[in-house]
Amino acid sequence: MKKQAKFAVGISVIVVALACLAWLGYGESKTYYHTIAELESLKGAELSRRMRVGGTVAPGSIHHFTGRVDFVLEGEGKSLPVSYVGSDPLPDTFVDKSQALVEGRPTDGRFVAEVVQAKCASKYEAAPGGTVATSSAATK
């Protein structure tokens, strides 16, 4: 049975080593996801964790300043003022009414975001000369 043992050892070494790396990587990158409503109920240590929050960009709320972009995220009737302080340009899909996901930490009633991701919202039709109608066709 010696060769079986050799294989078992080899396989275990590989699996254990990778599991350790996975654990380390998990620790480095884990980010909690919360809704805007949940943010109000967080306390203490939970508030200082890196987290992601999703919502819809309130129309007209995007303002560009030097070094930051402010906007308001809305979701489930609540709103959250956000400041984006990252150096990367904002994605092209980040416009009024788009669905956005921000990653960072809540600070003093605002949310300071280091990463912003945005996705095309469901389309509303407003063709030239026609009346507005809803369509359930998904985009992208």
């Binding site: 060769k3 050799k6 294989f7 080899g10 396989i11 590989i14 699996v15 080593a17 990778l18 790396l21 996975a22 380390l24 990587g25 998990y26 480095e28 990158s29 884990k30 980010t31 909690y32 996801y33 919360h34 992601r52 999703g54 560009h64 300043f65 030097t66 972009v69 150096s87 990367d88 340009p89 904002l90 994605p91 092209d92 899909t93 416009v95 996901l101 991701q117 996705k119 095309c120 469901s122 389309k123 039709e125 063709a127 030239p128 000369g129 026609g130 009346t131 109608a133 369509s135 066709a137 998904a138 985009t139 992208k140």
Partner: protein, 685 residues
Amino acid sequence: MDVFGSFALILAFICAVYAFGGGIAAIITRHPLLVKSTRQAGIATCCLIFIATFSLEYLFFTDNFSAAYVVSHSNRALATFYKIAALWAGQEGSLLFWSFLLSIYVFSVLIAYRNKNGELMPYVGVILAGVQIFFLTLNNFVASPFKALAVPGASGAMDLVTRADGNGLTPLLQYPEMVIHPPNLYSGYTGFTIPFAFALAALLARYPGEKWIHLTRKWTMIAWCFQTAGILLGAHWAYAVLGWGGYWGWDPVENASLLPWLTGTAFLHSVMMQEKRGMMKVWNVWLVFATFILCITGTFLTRSGIVSSVHAFAQSSIGSWFVGFLIVIFTVCLAAYLKNRDYLKSESQLDAIVSRESSFLFNNLILLVSCVAVLSGTLFPVLSEAVSGSKINVGAPFFNKVNVPIGLFLLFLTGVGPLLAWRRTSLESLKRNFAWPLIVGLVAGVVIFALGCREMYSLICFSLCFFVTTTIVMEFYRGAKVIRVRSNASYLTSAIELTMRNTRRYGGYIVHMGMVLVFVGLAGVAFNQNVQKEMQPGSSIELGKYKLVLQSYDSKPEANYTGLRLNVEVFVDNKPLMMLYPERRIFETNGETGTMVAIYSTLREDLYVVYAGQSPDTKLPVIHAYLNPLVKWIWFGGVIVVFGTLVALMPNRRAVLVLSGAQQPAPEPLVHGMTPSVTYRKGQD
């Protein structure tokens, strides 16, 4: 035309149901009329799906804005090129496109084997019909692409309307790769259905193991080739269009395409164990099942929205359909396995740790570990919410920490595996085969270290790339030398002849070589640099050996967008090199913007320049420039991988033994692994 198309789709559904039900009856009764008619029904299903797909395309080409799907994804000004691609721009159309590509495979299989493998084909037909029924259900009843546009009318009923013009295609999709990436990737996903069908059919029919492996190998390689091309095209598209300077973000949709690729690669290697030594039968069957299940899981992840992604389609209830289908597939596979597993008994054992079997075993092990890691990481928000109530996301650090060492170990095995003998490798053989590659690898590592590279993983990667390249070159050299002895041709001609006599083996080496080049490209990531600056005409920024000077900027209206273009001149050593034109496009119909990156790509590095936007205070353009070393090697390597797969798919050229007069030919020296062939071998190995 939309009525015609939807009618074709419902007819296809009916034919598929007959192919399935009648096919089961055909298996039980073995009545020749049933067998034949269900096969015809299967072929008819495919033809009807072709017709439905062409009908939808026809609606796009004729600007038919009474169809809801056409209105959402096209407009009059859209280039014809993109009207074709608009077919798969949304949920309904892309599901029809999936059915379309699957039908091409099913059609080919049913026609190719209509007079062969009579024991197996009825089962294959039933399984393929079953899969088609699922997608046709979605096409007909859940997400129909032929929905007519309607608004609520005065009387309360829905009134049909026709728009003057459509909404147009999302700007991010108006790029040439939109026309080629989804077809390639979907051809990969749908292609894995064929080996799955054969494996399950063989298990149910208790068909001889070697035969079904032999049959499915070609189809698996075709699907794998498309999947690889699809993944790399997607990466290239993200790189060239999105403007964040990278090509892989471990996004859930990207991961979804990688998962079946990992198990598919494992399967392509472990089948060799079954062919040569009758081992790993159970493992292979479950690998194929897993690959297919991961394909369905992949499209489920993309469409259901259960994990947030930049790619995902809008949230919909379609996810539950896929979950149901996955449960059905898994149940059927498990039942078939439990019923027939005694037919999968292994014929041999593993003999030694230093053997080719062992290298395949480790290859499979780490590919599977990678697959499990990527799957867990992708599904982590769902799993953590179920377990602890809070949604936790894991990002790139997790995926990279696990997959980089796996990739390096895989690279190592790529060099070592082919040179190990079956069963047991002797010490002399080890010394003979690995002396040169080890020396070259180590010397390369030392030289690269001396040149200033201190990134450990990149250093190991480069060393291994040299190591593996040497092993592959040596294999070609040794084989070509033998052929040269007889034919006196050049080394190149002999190498080509060598390849054509054993396309599977040497095509495989070409694929490995392509992967080595991809790894060289990936190793460059550790040396990426970037710089961002607000510029006015005449100002410059420096990055690496390049100096970028903004000469001017302008705004140019086009057919369906306005282009805001920067004219940037690139200098090297104060000598002008070229002009680059990074651009932002604003699309008329929906007001969305797109980024057109300007890339100057050499083998050494990519100079990647993005018009990042306007500075909020001064309104001056902001340029973000990246220096990405070695990226071109990835795309180049991908082309080699595809080429190698095509070579491996070709049938072997027969080796002809020529006797002249009474002269006996000297026996060919035994090249490692190659037995002298004096019998004619039929076609493919």
